[in-house]
């Protein structure tokens, strides 16, 4: 691989989770978000020669994803389309935590390792295997509402655990 490609991959992998999360916040479906991310990755490589290494890579990548998402909205003829100010607000929110990716990932891994097996299994079904909540509810013989609530509690507990770990580690 040439130097450009190495650098491109390094930059992209560094922001991969955040860029996928950004795509999800724009299109609200993991299937669409994955497609948007993949298209964004291709355009980023095509235009990598134009990238100014003195500037941050993440905002540049988000800008390209945003433009592709707007095209996505037009193609899907969505009745409700995010206006520029809402998109700006999302950009600002992502930019605020741009440098914490690695710390947050490590914290999340540690938090996950502390979960009881049934909770971890539930998360694995939902996020590792993308199982629909209805099927999880069926497998566990519970209602969809109960599974949704449990997932919500687990996400909340993980968020809290991440914050505590980052604080303990002295992160800003």
């Amino acid at each position: 691989m040439d130097k450009d490609h190495d650098e491109y991959l390094r930059q992209l992998l560094r922001i991969r989770d955040d860029l996928q999360a950004y795509c999800l916040s724009l299109v609200r479906s993991w299937a669409d978000a994955d497609e948007l991310f993949q298209r964004t990755a291709v355009v980023l490589w095509e235009r990598f020669g134009d990238f100014d290494p003195e500037r941050a890579f993440a905002p540049w990548a988000r800008g390209i994803a945003r433009n592709l998402a707007l095209k996505h909205f037009r193609e899907r003829r969505r009745l409700v389309q995010m206006d520029q100010s809402a998109l700006d607000a999302i950009d600002c929110a992502f930019e605020a935590d741009d440098d914490q990716g690695a710390d947050e990932l490590a914290a999340l891994e540690a938090c996950l390792s502390q979960l009881p097996a049934p909770s971890r299994r539930l998360l694995a079904w939902r996020y590792g295997e993308s199982r629909p909540i209805g099927r999880i509810a069926q497998a566990l013989n519970r209602s969809v509402a109960a599974v949704t609530k449990q997932l919500s509690r687990l996400r909340g507990a993980l968020q809290e655990c991440i914050v505590q770990r980052l604080r303990a580690d002295g992160a800003p």
Binding site: L9, V42, D83, A89, R120, G128, E129, S130, Q159
Partner: protein
């Protein structure tokens, strides 16, 4: 979880009615705290997907090839299908005299899997996949078409971007984890090699993973032979023998197809596992729908359904799966238990035999001491509890002393004729 986070999660799930979603989007512009909650939720979900998805990929890669039944004789033509709902319909009360161990008290403890190495492994795989995607898009020339190609050297990605972006990156099939696999075109494979129509991939003692540029992934268990038949208009594979797990991205042009000796399947985007042996072709769908066509029948399988085509009417055991004892669903990566596999019995698991439809009972010998009979399909080596119990378990979980154990299992048909016995050794942790 606070109210903002809750709303953000519902928004991301697509669970909001259109009007509420529109109001949410408008509020984003004026409420920075809501935008931050949205970003935090989306980041958390992305990282959960990566960490837990990587764990799943690791499990899939560890999937094993079942032993094929070796009995004298030549496979007969013809096939039989297992009804898709058979498994759930046939779980009934235990019969008098039927064996089964008492269900143990449930125990659970946090998994101690080291997540950091998995994260690094995921990064590595992602780098290879993304590299392959981008490099292919940048113009690595390769023909596309349905005609099998003559044996040749495998293409390796060209790192130099070309000004000609054709052909489409959708027409590529990249090895992202080579293991000890070989092909008809090269003695050994390396990660990043591009397979062409006509290439046959043969795994040895290690698993191998391939990915098309649309993100569809095929994980080949050890001892599997898979041929890439075509890349255009959609990927077409032929599973000659062994076991492979598939995660197929939504197909726009044409169905993704896999041919097996006794059945063919076609899909437009789903997850499933296929197994082919001399006497059977088997499919299990994890998600989505799969069209399963054998010599005798064609049916559409939904999530949790299985299709089986057999070469003869003998009672046979095709292999053993490790399943979640509570839900009855196979554990990722453990569809096919290998002889000598380790089992962590704190995870509430059960061992279930995959059998031909003609099997009506199974004799199970454990460590040459304990003969028992299983008469209710799906046949678990340690039985399934009566449904009259308050407990909702599908199977008795494995509860054996730590160390090595040996099961010898003999299938019988309705007339009492025995099929070839199978042996399974497991190590209990």
């Amino acid at each position: 979880m606070n109210a903002l986070a809750e709303r953000a999660a519902r928004f991301l799930e697509g669970a909001m009615p259109a009007e509420e979603a529109a109001a949410f989007e408008q509020e984003l512009a004026t409420n920075p705290a809501l935008a931050q909650a949205l970003a935090r939720q989306a980041r958390l979900e992305a990282r959960l997907r990566r960490i837990l998805g990587a764990e799943r990929e690791q499990n899939l890669a560890a999937d094993a090839t079942p032993h094929t039944v070796t009995v004298p004789g030549i496979p007969m033509p013809g096939a039989a299908m297992r009804p898709s709902g058979e498994r759930s319909q046939t779980k009934g009360p235990r019969r008098p005299g039927q064996s089964g161990r008492r269900r143990s008290a449930r125990r659970s403890r946090p998994r101690t899997t080291a997540m950091l190495p998995l994260g690094l492994a995921a990064l590595f795989l992602a780098a290879l996949a993304l590299g392959a995607l981008v490099l292919n898009h940048a113009g690595t020339p390769r023909p596309s078409g349905n005609e099998p190609a003559a044996p040749r050297q495998l293409a390796t990605p060209d790192p130099a971007p070309s000004t000609n972006p054709e052909p489409s990156p959708a027409h590529s099939f990249i090895v992202i984890k080579a293991g000890d696999a070989t092909t008809n075109a090269a003695a050994a494979l390396t990660a990043g090699a591009a397979l062409q129509p006509g290439d046959t991939l043969v795994t040895g003692q290690q698993p191998s993973v391939c990915q098309s540029a649309d993100g569809s992934t095929v994980t080949l268990a050890p001892g599997t032979t898979l041929t890439l038949s075509a890349l255009h208009p959609a990927t077409a594979l032929k599973l000659e023998r062994g076991l492979a797990s598939y995660v197929v991205s939504p197909q726009k042009a044409a169905p993704f197809t896999v041919a097996m000796p006794l059945a063919d399947i076609s899909v437009i985007g789903t997850r499933f596992v296929l197994e082919a042996g001399p006497y059977h072709s088997w499919a299990r769908v994890e998600e989505g729908r799969v069209r399963f066509a054998s010599n005798t029948e064609t049916r559409v399988l939904g999530a949790g359904d299985e299709g089986l085509a057999t070469a003869d009417a003998q009672p046979r055991i095709f292999g053993f799966s490790l399943v979640d004892a509570i839900s009855g669903t196979p554990l990722p990566g453990r569809h096919a238990l290998r002889d000598g596999d380790s089992i962590d019995q704190t995870q509430q698991v059960a061992i279930v035999a995959r059998t031909s439809p003609s099997v009506s009972a199974m004799r199970v010998s454990l460590d040459q001491q304990d003969d028992s009979w299983e008469r209710n399909p799906p046949f678990a080596l340690l039985g399934n509890p009566a449904t009259t119990q308050a407990d909702t378990a599908s199977f008795y979980p494995v509860k054996l002393s730590p160390g090595s154990h040996r099961f010898v299992v003999t299938p019988y048909d309705n007339d009492g004729a025995a099929g070839p016995e199978r042996t399974l050794r497991v190590t209990i942790q």
